[in-house]
Symmetry: none
DNA sequence: GATGAATGAGATTTCATTCAT
DNA sequence: AATGAATGAAATCTCATTCAT
């Protein structure tokens, strides 16, 4: 089978799996059902994806790829904009991505929970065999830091064009933004959509607030100064 | 068996389960292993906890109870402090709690992911039967909003004592703080501990920054004004 | 479960398997069907016998044990008879055993085909993994030579009591008898029963002839002399 | 493709299959491996032989054809010899054939085990579909009795030329000889070769003894008389 | 006729969970 | 309440066999 054809088939399967996982969750999803949703047999399914976990990681990989693509196209759209605008747009892109794709956002969060700092040689006892053998687990490691790095680079660009405060640490700020996004997404996912209110709060307001906050932290000298002087006392 | 005795045994089991889940994760943990870690047989284990998920929810319940206790004792410690200090202390309490208890923080995040707004009558298709039948699932629903409510009340107290800006919405701010905490915790858990740096960032700095930020957002008029005027442009 | 109980259950399973194998043959027999014939589930079946081949070898072991028992009781019946009579009775016992138990005789023949001289360290490439791991494969090796040895010993007894010619080699004669038995059994099994004639030959006549021949070879000096003088010319 | 070309290819495949079956046995042999041993693909293999069993029966057919050819050439060599010599030569031919071709002898024995008296209308439940549909299964039925018949005819010739006792039944004796051969072969195959001793017996001695015995049974009046008078007592 | 992909049947395994004693 | 055995659901694997191109 030509690569392209094989790839199409893989895509079909992944999409079928996404529908099933989205509908009933990982645990309840049966390989049999995923296969029949994809219009193939279980064995064929296994010939493409060697385990249920591998299939889940394939979806995770797709999620991250999709996110990365959105990042790149966002960067492209903002290549002439100021750095700070681009950074905010990236954060907004991530948030929107999570709003639009419950499954994707969950897979990404699951993934980041799982890796537990792959940089260091930590104990892998929590990884299942299937995960360790998954080709997608490897592939994910190659691109997992991409959104992070792209954001950090954009912050630097902002510092160069003067739109972002020069005394902030790009890495730190990226991590800070990352934690905003995850926090927002988790709250969002615990809710269902940003249309339905959680405790009477419209989650869209939460998003907007986070974005404003991010912008201020990146570029507002007054805010920066004030923060500098906050006394923690803890 | 007297209640107390039974309760002691339940505790032993839960603690054994915590050790096992902590070591190998939920998926890899076997009921058999948990039973033998607790020094009992599988069937006895089942007589106490009717399913693996129920056991996990029992731990989750314990996690939330523990968190709530820490909240209460934090409130007690700060009953004479200003509202804003108390709120910041609560946030710090939650963060520290997550730092100290990887398993507890994961169970809580899992739980909040799972409930997906129990307030509204959403589809429960992703809940397993075991979860629906779990007594701890019910018990959790009774206390799940407690930390949230306590925080909101403390913000109101802060507004009354003048330490917190009067024009902020306590519910909104609580949710905002909640998302900070979750974001921080997820980043933390993806790392391992706040001692080891992630991308060269000391996570303790991230924590301190978040706390400062929270304090500023609650009480700093200048920051509030600046934020008010941020133009999003997104 | 007490040993006895476990043993009873194992027996039930083996008997169920015998019925199924007898009815449809090894290849066509499904573990599922054997399980349900035994009134248990597949998994339980597997907990007793780890593979289909192991189950088959268990039947083989039973076949050999049964044969051995018949040998012992035959020896007991003939303990006061002359050696030659005992030897002929043993051969007749084996033949009858094969007549009565098509499955058993096939399993034994399969087994002896398979072992290919376990005495020497031959290549085991034809053995499946399941066979190599079978406990019954090991157990069979312990008793596989028993009927052979018992026969040889009985020939010696016959030589001592004068009922068997002193110049024959017990081992050689045993092997010779063995090949008679196998030859008869194979012809028999290719037929179905010794009641239905094969090429118009009543197989019972073949059996009687073989027994007569064996007796003559063991004890008839005239025949021995004649054979001695046969010129092969081949 | 011309018939001859097709036939050559078929031969190649059969020979490849023989190598594989010989090396690892029927059960362990994979069609994939046979195909690649033959330098073709699995599908091509299937276009020539419709099933694994059919392929095995093709080998069986070849075995029987080869045996038959050897019988004919043996007959030819002995067309001027006395009947008894010819019969003994036939038996020796069969035995040597089995010595030389482990796989062939096994296929033949498997085949004769399988047919279970095709003369009568027995239940075919143990035959697989693949066997029933095999063209070689049909072809085998046409020639399966040939060695048997040729032997019987040769015995008759011996009776006519006076070299074989007139009062024996050719069919019965042929069957008797057949069972000798099978018995010898099975013992042989359980051993490996007639060079290596089984229980210290040189299998070549067993062969020679069987041949002598056959000759005596066919032509020696003294032996016949003695046998006549053997008392079975069983 | 050749090829790579797919199918179908059934063996085997793993566990959470339940039963019987 | 404790124990060993059994169950049921689903994952996974192995191959002979078939399909589509």
């Amino acid at each position: 089978m030509k690569e392209s054809k094989k790839s199409i088939k893989e895509n079909n399967i992944i999409e079928a799996a996404e529908r099933v996982f989205d509908a009933v969750g990982f645990k309840n999803a049966k390989m049999e059902d995923i296969a029949s949703e994809a219009g193939i047999t279980k064995v064929t399914l296994y010939s493409y994806f060697q385990s249920k976990e591998n299939l889940y990681l394939a979806i995770t990989y797709r999620a991250l790829q999709t996110l990365n693509e959105r990042y790149y196209s966002c960067l492209d759209r903002n290549k002439n904009a100021k750095g700070v605008d681009s950074v905010i747009a990236l954060i907004e892109t991530f948030m929107s991505f999570c709003e639009d794709n419950f499954l994707y956002s969950e897979t990404l969060l699951d993934y980041f929970s799982m890796v537990r700092s792959t940089s260091s040689g930590q104990d892998k006892s929590k990884l299942t065999e299937a995960t360790k053998e998954s080709i997608y687990y490897l592939k994910l490691q190659d691109i997992q830091n991409l959104p992070f790095k792209l954001t950090a680079k954009e912050i630097q660009r902002g510092q160069e064009d003067g739109s972002i405060l020069s005394n902030i640490d790009p890495i730190f700020s990226t991590l800070q933004g990352w934690s905003f996004i995850i926090g927002y997404t988790k709250v969002l996912n615990a809710n269902g959509s940003n249309q339905s209110p959680l405790f009477n709060v419209n989650l869209n307001d939460l998003k907007r607030f986070n974005l404003k906050l991010a912008r201020a932290l990146l570029s507002n000298e007054v805010v920066a100064n004030e923060l500098e002087n906050v006394d923690l006392l803890v």
